[in-house]
């Protein structure tokens, strides 16, 4: 019996559970695929106050009990969570009676569930590698890191196709796991620029006043406070920027470096210029991005750089470090400013350049906004992804598994 193309996605985070970029990625990709006639099932971890099963804009979302087994550490928790994910997904697929055409896993966090279900149901597995352990840690230093790296290698080995969000990631993943070139395919990440339209006409003066003085420019950082995101580079650039411009640095996000960063700020006596907000709700974040005079993405390792795209969609000019996916998103002096990675002087130069030149700033904003709308639209990304599914199914139909 012929049925519409159907895919089962595995992801360890899905809204309202948001830890990193995978959650919004799978959310928008699934919804856009559904709009393009693909039946999508999402299997993800549970979250307080959410139902075990719900349908969101045509996407079937199943949340599994992810803390069923006690675990001694994070990596072991991941494998145990996969055990439960696999078990529950197996029962769902079994009940659907052969209606799943492809499995699609996002990162090593759902590796064993994806690999297991591929073999028990003999359906093709696709994987999107959002990041790598090698990149996150800048090398492999501990047994945990090596184990995760080897799990990633195994996942890419088992996958029919490996999707990466930037040309940089394609070459990085190819090198890291020794993959053949034709196994990799680049599909950019998307950004939902519509969310910023709603607040286009809103008067944000009083909102802005909660965070900065009228004469202060707002420098915004959004991201986890972890090494790979280079937040310490931005913190070190603070006094260098303040020498030239009066500004307030607003840091959104949390992470293991928080205490360390607070200490640096205190030692520079800049507490009144750097505001750590932690996690903020979506409404606040959107408005902050709208208010920001410049958004900074100082990453040391960045597979894609969704934060830069979001800022561009919010018409906030961006300063990024010239690395990874950021290098592809931003064209220097056209859609943003690129600074040398791991270099506070260069970063401060970029920030100051935008803050002091109003003409340049508006020029960059308009160009950036246009690029986002043209290239990083979820509708187009869903169509590309659907074509990959269809191509894989075409090859699969000639295999002995079919």
């Amino acid at each position: 019996m012929k049925h519409e193309l159907s895919v089962m996605m595995f992801t360890w985070e899905f809204p309202p559970r948001v830890i990193g970029g995978i959650s919004p990625h799978v959310f928008f990709l699934s919804k856009s695929l559904a709009k393009n006639g693909v039946k999508v099932y999402v299997i993800t971890c549970d979250f307080p106050g959410t139902p075990a099963h719900e349908v969101i804009d045509g996407v079937d979302v199943y949340r599994i009990d992810s803390y069923k087994n006690p675990a001694p550490d994070f990596a072991t928790w991941v494998y145990l969570m996969n055990l439960n994910m696999q078990k529950e997904a197996a029962a769902i697929v079994n009940k659907l009676a052969d209606k799943i055409d492809v499995f699609h896993a996002h990162d090593w966090l759902v590796a064993t569930a994806g690999i297991g279900l591929k073999h028990v149901f003999r359906k093709p597995l696709l994987v999107t590698m959002h990041s790598t352990e090698m990149g996150r840690r800048d090398g492999l230093h501990t047994n945990t890191e090596k184990m995760i790296h080897e799990t990633e290698a195994w996942l890419t080995y088992e996958a029919w196709k490996v999707i990466c969000c930037s040309d940089y990631m394609v070459s990085h993943v190819r090198w890291a796991f020794g993959l053949p070139e034709d196994k990799l395919v680049m599909v950019p990440n998307g950004v939902n620029s519509h969310v910023y339209e709603g607040i286009e006409k809103e008067d944000l003066k009083s909102f802005r006043a909660k965070f900065a003085l009228p004469e202060e420019k707002i420098v915004l950082y959004v991201g986890r406070l972890v090494y790979e995101k280079g937040i310490h580079i931005l913190i070190n650039a603070v006094p260098k920027v303040l020498e030239k411009v009066d500004a307030k640095f607003i840091i959104v996000g949390s992470g293991y470096m928080k205490e360390q960063l607070l200490n640096i700020v205190r030692s520079m006596r800049s507490e009144y210029k750097v505001l750590f907000l932690g996690f903020v709700d979506d409404e606040t974040l959107l408005r902050l991005q709208k208010c920001a005079d410049v958004s900074v993405v100082p990453s040391l390792f960045e597979p894609f750089g969704i934060v830069a795209l979001e800022a561009m969609a919010a018409k906030s000019p961006v300063v990024v470090s010239d690395t990874g996916g950021l290098s592809e998103i931003v064209d220097h002096d056209l859609t943003g400013v690129k600074a040398y990675p791991n270099n506070p002087d260069s970063l401060a130069w970029g920030i100051t350049k935008i803050l002091l030149d109003e003409n340049h700033k508006s020029h960059i904003r308009e160009n950036a906004y246009r690029k986002v709308r043209e290239k990083y639209d979820w509708e187009k990304i869903a169509q590309q992804t659907k074509q990959i599914y269809e191509a894989v199914l075409g090859e699969y139909s000639k295999s002995f598994w079919a």
């Binding site: 069923k68 087994n69 006690p70 675990a71 001694p72 550490d73 990596a75 072991t76 494998y79 145990l80 996969n82 055990l83 696999q86 078990k87 529950e88 197996a90 029962a91 697929v93 079994n94 064993t112 690999i115 297991g116 279900l117 073999h119 028990v120 149901f121 003999r122 047994n143 945990t144 090596k146 184990m147 080897e150 799990t151 195994w154 080995y157």
Partner: protein, 195 residues
Amino acid sequence: MVGQLAEYINALSTQLVKNKVETHIVTYHDFLTGAVEEASGVKIVRVANPVRTHISVLTWDLTLNQEVERAAASIYYQANKQIDLIDVYDWHFIPAAVTLKNALDIPFVYSVESLEDHRSPTADTPYSMSIKSIEWLGFYEAKKVSVKSEWMRNEVARIYNVPKEKIEVISPNTNSWVKDLLELYKTVAGGLSSQ
């Protein structure tokens, strides 16, 4: 060989083949991987762990399970889906058995050799608790539990609250050993629908 289980499975599978039970064994070896058929007619598949670096027996076990599952699924498809039941020994490969049951409706017997509570009687570390939670999952998902003594039957019931009628005592030290086991297999192989 790690403990006595290897010899036991060897003796058991030989007996099963003699009694015309098509027997496949899925087990682990670091490098002697692949499929072999013994002179006795027992078919064995040995798998290795694709992930070589580990932080504990737990991570080693949980990843190895995927290869066990893959090999078992492969046997299932090669046998035209005619696998009646899985007999799984101790907690190590419970995860694979659980997925295979939920995905392909193959019921399983959980054969208990020992329990984490006896191996590490005072351990309430996350590591031990984790293994216990896998044992619990096995008892919950198994169609029948097989133990080798009345004492173990009581222990399984005591520690995990498993209903006693779910637990069968089958001792290899009695003459009716193979007969009892075949009897158990027959009740389990009725399929999940008869549950």
